[in-house]
């Protein structure tokens, strides 16, 4: 074995504890990364199997070829196909069976009166296909619906709504339909297609409630006869299909469904997790670098002796790097094992919390092992590189010097470089935010800001610790003063230790600030553009359930207490070849309940060929009142519309408004997303709200909210996201905490004699513990303060850049309470990190400490 390797191995054996922190930092980061990858693969494979099984018997799907996709939607809207086509298809040679597939939105109401689902995944309803091979759902219990009002629901939905066979409940389509559950179904062997709920009804019911008119279906499922392949079937079908209708194989259809789930849910999910494991590993970099820097500093004499005895620079560097490799490899390997364990645990946990995790073993691909392993090793070795190089540079003379304590300070160059970076980042950011709004420039500025914080850290740490620690002298006397000065001893080390926490806190506060700004934006949106008294709405987060009955608004308008009630429905069309969402409503009274800003032209006379557009869209398309524009609907029809009004504000109303009469020929299943109600003068909000609620009860009891409640609930999804983000960031903060603890432990080791002296001259154990704890809190306070400042700045940049770069305007908000909580958590983390090192320091044997050479 070569000398360098032998040295590093013996040193690892001797001082294994020192690397415990490094080990855990790498371990946690790698485990998170590997867990994410394994879980992503497993989920994807599970969904593949599930869809494969569920659609096994479907060999081809016939559907409209026209699809209109609006921005921000992964799945386009298709026109229906005529059910009459089924007979034509059945006559095609090679076809064994064909069945219309009618799909729409249908939200069940649970036994407690609350709607089932609707906050995320879609709530679907459709016809129950009699041919079990063509039906994606299998009957698990009970029977198929045979007469109007009977339904089969998927088992997951039944469980969530506490519904059982024989129960009678309401299905919102969105008009309430009384239904009796006669059977429970499974999808691909699971309780459901993830969290999607499904209600299967008779074909007649489905046509009645889910389509605009009878004789239409979303698609037609076709089964091939014996010996006929899927491709063959599709080629046989294609000639008999009318124009605008296409046939695809069952496999393609299954793949589309899987892709949809992947893009809607899995990709988002795994990307989010990968970003956070990246942050965790970035934080880990600081901790690892710091550990090695300290270890190398402590070993100066030893390394110098080696150099004096004839070891080359390379040998000394190699010995440190070998140590780092050993830690990196073990920690990464352990991390992969841990990550696989996490994935297995989640697989077991998901069904328990009502999320049907597709069955099947864990899918561990080469990539999900190799990537985290390489990342772990690279992060660990990369962080140890500089300290190792420094170890190699040790002068042989250093062996003769007294101290072996790292007192690395802040050089003038560092201050200059950091200052330059900071100035550059501010310049670039301000340009990107204020002068020429660009997310790229703002992003570059943000990265530069981060870099300048890291470079300036040691320069700032002295000043910051002095300021932050000033009250300690008075509060805690000599104990506090000693803690403060210990934190000041090695500005470079303090900065690196605090740097890990700083990144964590910065990301937390960035999200906090951005979340608060989004909420403020929504609040402003509602208060600016909602002029009604109460709103009846569906959950704003996710698919929104089945929406609101289009008959609700007219029913409300008939109430004596109500002056105006306007429902906003949703339609899609291509405007000049681009998919756009249309708002289908009653434009005449629209202005009474929504603030549309300045209106040119008149919303009163849109008729069936008039359209109203926002100023922004009008400008973009060079349209003005009196001009015509062509809309293409999903049914393939092209209609010319005349712009009759141009309005200023679009937040709630959308960019294009047409009348219900204009939409009617092209409609599918109708639903409103929002009904705005204005009361007659003299009607109190409480009275009016009661009236509206009473009417709404007849339409499936959607939520009735005052303006403020509506604004608040619009922002509820943001809080949910923030909670998730906080949970994920806890990992980064934990790694930072380990870093602080590790640095302190190493520092205490360095100061053994000093601590011994303090104890000898009368420092009590309690005082010693307090001293170490306060040092930890001070370092954490520095990191937290830096993180808060950086996070708030980056949050501002993000908000302003989004404001400048997108059409909708963003509000910037600093939530003082939440940020105070973040600060407190940072300080508490510091106190927590100091606990163990403090206890260890206090256990120190005085005599041995002062005798230590």
């Amino acid at each position: 074995m070569n000398a360098a390797l032998r040295l590093s191995l013996s040193s690892l054996r001797g001082h294994g504890r020192r690397f415990a922190g490094t080990f855990f930092a790498v371990f946690l980061g790698v485990a998170f990364l590997a867990g994410t990858l394994v879980m992503g693969d497993t989920l994807r494979a599970g969904f593949d199997t599930m869809f494969g099984e569920a659609t096994e018997g479907t060999d081809a799907v016939v559907r409209s070829a026209n699809v209109i996709t609006t921005p921000g939607e992964s799945q386009g809207v298709r026109a229906p196909v005529g059910t009459a086509l089924v007979e034509t298809i059945e006559r095609v040679p090679g076809v064994a069976a064909a069945a219309p597939d009618i799909q729409g939105a249908g939200q069940l109401v649970g036994s407690d009166g609350r709607p089932v689902g609707g906050q995320g995944p879609p709530t679907l309803a459709g016809n129950w296909i009699g041919d079990p091979k063509l039906n994606a759902y299998r009957l698990a219990e009970g029977r198929a619906p045979s007469k109007s009002g009977e339904v089969v629901v998927n088992r997951g939905a039944a469980k969530k709504g506490r519904l059982k066979i024989g129960d009678t409940t309401v299905l919102r389509t969105p008009d309430p339909v009384r239904v009796t559950i006669v059977g429970l179904a499974t999808f691909g062997g699971e309780d459901g297609m993830a969290q999607v709920t499904f209600t299967g009804m008779t074909r007649a019911d489905a046509e009645k409630y889910l389509t605009a008119k009878p004789g239409e279906a979303t698609g037609i499922r076709v089964r091939a006869g014996p010996g006929v392949g899927q491709e063959e079937l599709v080629s046989a079908l294609t000639p008999v299909l009318p124009k605008g209708v296409e046939a695809i194989t069952g496999q393609e259809s299954a793949q589309e469904n899987t892709d949809m789930i992947s893009s809607r849910f899995l990709t988002l999910f795994t990307t989010l997790l990968l970003v956070f494991s990246g942050i965790a590993l970035l934080v880990a970099t600081f901790s690892i670098h710091n550990t090695f820097a300290i270890v190398v500093a402590q070993r100066t004499r030893e390394n110098a002796l080696l150099r004096a005895l004839g070891a080359s620079r390379r040998q000394v560097t190699a010995s440190t790097l070998a140590e780092a490799s050993a830690v990196a490899v073990t920690a990464s390997a352990a991390g992969i094992a841990g990550g696989t364990g996490i994935a297995a645990g989640l697989q077991a946990l998901f069904p328990a919390i009502g999320f049907p995790f597709p069955e099947g073993g864990l899918v561990i691909s080469g990539l999900s092992v190799l990537l985290p392993f390489c990342v772990g090793v690279v992060v660990c070795l990369g962080s140890a590189l500089l300290p190792a190089a420094r170890a190699g540079r040790t002068a042989p003379l250093a062996a003769l010097r007294e101290t072996a304590v790292d007192e690395s300070g802040a050089s003038r160059t560092r201050a200059a470089v950091g200052g330059g970076l900071a100035a550059l980042s501010v310049g670039v950011t301000l340009t990107g935010v204020l002068l020429t709004p660009s997310l790229w420039l703002a992003g570059l500025g943000a990265v530069l800001a981060l870099a300048s914080f890291v470079v300036l850290g040691p320069v700032a740490s002295s000043a910051a610790v002095r300021v932050l620690g000033a009250p300690l002298d008075r509060l805690r006397g000599v104990t506090g003063s000693l803690a403060r000065r210990n934190a000041l001893r090695s500005p470079g080390r303090t900065a690196a230790t605090a740097g890990a926490l700083m990144i964590g806190v910065a990301v937390v506060s960035l999200f906090t600030v951005f979340g608060a700004s989004l909420k403020a934006t929504m609040d402003r949106t509602v208060s600016h553009s909602f002029a009604g008294d109460v709103a009846v709405s569906t959950p704003s987060f996710g698919a929104g359930g089945s929406g609101l009955s289009p008959r609700l608004a007219p029913a409300l308008a008939r109430q004596p207490a109500v002056e105006h009630a306007v429902g906003l429905g949703r339609g899609v069309a291509e405007v000049d070849g681009e998919g756009r969402a249309l708002t289908v409503t009653d434009p005449v009274t629209l202005g009474e309940v929504f603030d549309l800003g300045h209106v040119r032209g008149s919303l009163g006379g849109l008729g069936t060929d008039g359209i109203a557009i926002t100023r922004q869209e009008a400008a973009r398309r060079h349209l003005d009142t009196g001009d015509t524009t062509r809309l293409t609907f999903t049914d393939g029809r092209r209609v010319n519309f005349t712009v009759r009004a141009v309005y200023g504000r679009s937040e709630l109303v959308g960019d294009y408004v047409i009348t219900r009469a204009a939409w009617a020929p092209h409609r599918t299943q109708d639903a409103d997303t929002l009904v705005a109600v204005a009361f007659e003068d003299g009607v109190s909000t409480a009275d009016g709200k009661a009236v509206v609620r009473k009417v709404a009860e007849r339409y499936g009891s959607p939520e009735v909210q005052t303006r403020d409640e509506y604004a608040r609930s619009s922002a509820a999804g943001i809080d949910m996201m923030l909670t998730l983000v906080y949970a994920l960031l806890a990992l980064a903060v934990l790694i930072a905490l380990l870093g602080i603890a590790n640095t302190l432990t190493l520092a205490i080791h360095e100061r053994t004699r000093e601590l011994g002296l303090l104890r000898a001259v009368g420092q009590t154990r309690a005082q010693l513990r307090a001293m170490v704890r306060w040092e930890s809190v001070l370092v954490a306070a520095f990191g937290t303060a830096g993180g808060l400042a950086l996070g708030a700045f980056l949050g501002w940049v993000l908000v302003e850049a989004s404001d400048g770069a997108s059409d909708s305007s963003f509000a910037f908000a600093l939530p003082p309470l939440r940020l105070a909580v973040v600060a407190l958590v940072g300080l508490a983390a510091g106190a927590l990190a100091g606990l163990r090192p403090a206890r260890r320091a206090a256990r120190l044997d005085v005599l041995r400490a002062i005798a230590t050479e």
Partner: protein
């Protein structure tokens, strides 16, 4: 100075036994030592390496515990005290000067001197501290850090710190071991002056006959036993006495 016995002992050990290790590897560092260190006197503990002189000092000062026997500071029996009370006793009633590394590098000279009082949260006597600073001659260095002082200056600060809280007894463990002879003389002179002019008590462990000659009395230890005492020592007398240990390994 034969009147010394009239005064009570500032510190003493009775039948002190200290055993390190167990079984075959057990070493009796102290083997039944009884000795008193009278108040107002400068006592030196001498003996060859491994004679147990440092162990005796550590046990007498409450830094280490005896295997059997008892140690007293004034009338306080140290064996009866828990770690906290022992710490407070060291803080309030004992001063220390070690061979090296006596000062906290982050504190200034003035802060180092005041450290025991600051730890106790008391102010101490301002006049006394002031007088001390003048005696050790460091008035112009009060706001310097230890790293800016020479080794001799650092030890003088350590001496000032040891006396600052007016302790019953100051223990010095080879205080001149790391110094050149001139600086060593200064430090020893300081210790001697503190005893004679300010009526303090000093117990010093040393292996240097010249250092021991500054004391009022020298006690000799060999193989963990008290073997001799010498009043009014001189360097030559001590050297002769030490030579007697050499080769024989046992007292006369």
């Amino acid at each position: 100075m034969t009147t010394a016995t009239a005064r009570p002992d500032a510190a003493r050990v009775v039948d002190a036994v200290k055993v390190y290790g167990t079984g075959d590897t057990a070493v009796r560092a102290l083997d039944g030592v009884s000795v008193g260190f009278p108040a107002g006197r400068f006592t030196a503990i001498m003996g060859p390496s491994g004679s147990g002189k440092s162990t005796l000092m550590h046990c007498a000062a409450g830094l280490d515990t005896l295997t059997s026997g008892s140690a007293y500071i004034g009338d306080t029996e140290l064996g009866a005290l828990d770690d906290r009370r022992l710490t407070l006793l060291r803080r309030d009633r004992i001063g220390f000067v070690f061979q090296a590394f006596n000062l906290i590098p982050t504190l200034t000279v003035a802060e180092n001197i005041a450290l025991p009082m600051d730890l106790a949260g008391t102010k101490g006597s301002r006049a006394w501290t002031d007088a001390l600073v003048d005696v050790v001659g460091l008035r112009d260095r009060l706001h310097h850090r230890p790293s800016e002082l020479s080794g001799g200056q650092q030890q003088r600060v350590a001496v000032a710190r040891a006396f600052a809280s007016e302790p019953d007894v100051v223990f010095a463990d080879e205080p001149t071991g790391n110094l050149d002879s001139r600086s060593g003389q200064e430090v020893l002179g300081l210790l001697g002056r503190a005893v004679r002019r300010m009526d303090r008590t000093v117990v010093m462990v040393t292996h240097d006959p010249v250092a021991a000659a500054h004391a009022d009395e020298v006690v000799f230890l060999a193989d963990g036993r008290l073997v001799d005492r010498m009043e009014n020592p001189t360097a030559d007398k001590v050297l002769d006495r030490m030579k007697a240990f050499d080769g024989k390994g046992a007292p006369v």
